[in-house]
Amino acid sequence: MTPVLLGVIGLALALPVPAALARTSWPLLVPRAGIVLWQSFALAAILAISGAALSTALWLVTDDRTTWWRIVLHLVILATGVLVWARFWWAASTVWRETRTRRRRQRHLVDLLGDADGMAPALRILREETPIAYCVPGLSSPRIVVSQGTISTLSTTEYAAVLEHERAHVRRRHDLVLEAFTVLHRAFPRFLRTDAPLVQSQVMIELLADDAARRACGDAPVARALVALAGAPTPAGTLGSGSAAAVRMSRLQDPDPRRVVASIAAYALSVLVLFAPTVLLAIPWMFHAWRTLVP
């Protein structure tokens, strides 16, 4: 029974539960707790599925009630578990490698083509009229990149707000949050996952960086910078998904966006999701395994 239950819990946490939660959008009200919540869902899913694989492997070895459908069922569970684990490590290593390669290349290009700014060592200014603002995060040598177009489009306070926003990304290692979600996203096969955690986490780190920027520069400059840069005409003719800008704007509209009760609820749910399968299923199963293996 244990492998099937764990497997069901794992699959539920991988797909239908996050999809349902994403529709409510309340995790976006509490970005920090929301990130923890999404992470715990994905981790719990991986733990439950690998727990299912482990216990099913033991069942196949030890149980003597072997009917054909039970064997098939357990083999499917075992295969799913092995697949998710293998993909998890494969995803972790490829995401790590790809991200580092791309960042290094960007840093080299930016250092050769951008102008350094005497005031801020990590800042590089591109001679380009299109407004551009982004950061190349990283532990050793992060870069904050803006274009001449950004500086001429924005007022001094708006520009300061943009720099503060990017600095918050760099300082708080938001890149690690994104990398973790990218790994977890890639770890699940396409038919077993939803885009919600990755997409929402991308919005959440923007909300957190906005929070830092408005603490340092005030609400209005952050909002004006967002409108100026998100509303800028695109040279490439392609449009990104703009929902992030709308969510950020509505948080900026709220003078005090802290939600203590919702945060506590999200943290509590994270703990529950992470530990409930372990406590309810894994521990009894471990007792059972102990009794079976040690006569």
């Binding site: 050769l112 380009e128 299109t130 950061c135 409108v227 990104g240």
Partner: protein
């Protein structure tokens, strides 16, 4: 390190401005007035080589150096990543301030901004 970075920029600009691959001596001359050692320039060219910005070709007993990509190509590669509006960068190598929105959404954003402005400046 900062100084080395500036030197890399200057050397790269000399190579980009040149019409043909240059020797270390020619790069040194191209840099002009500065009091720089031959070995320093070699080190810088080496570093640019490991960054795949410069390629080296043998010319008799010496080496000649040329940019691995033109200035325009480097700029467009940089901007391509910087303006990655479609979000094809799925590894989150870069974190953008904001992605461009469509006109309808831009109007909604401006309306929200008016509300914030009226709140913060009584």
């Amino acid at each position: 390190m900062r100084r080395l970075g500036e030197l890399e920029r200057s050397v790269m600009n000399v190579l980009w401005d040149a019409v043909a691959p240059l020797t270390v001596r020619e790069v040194l001359d191209g840099l002009g007035e500065r009091d720089l050692a031959y070995t320093t320039i070699m080190t810088v060219l080496d570093r640019l080589g490991t960054k795949e910005m410069v390629r080296r070709e043998r010319d008799g007993r010496a080496f000649r150096y040329a940019p691995a990509l033109t200035r325009d190509a480097a700029t467009s590669e940089l901007l391509h990543a910087a303006l990655d509006e479609a979000g094809t960068d799925r590894t989150a190598a870069l974190v953008h301030f904001a992605r461009t929105v469509d006109p309808t959404e831009a109007r909604a954003l401006r309306a929200a901004l008016d509300e914030i402005e009226s709140r913060t400046s009584p």
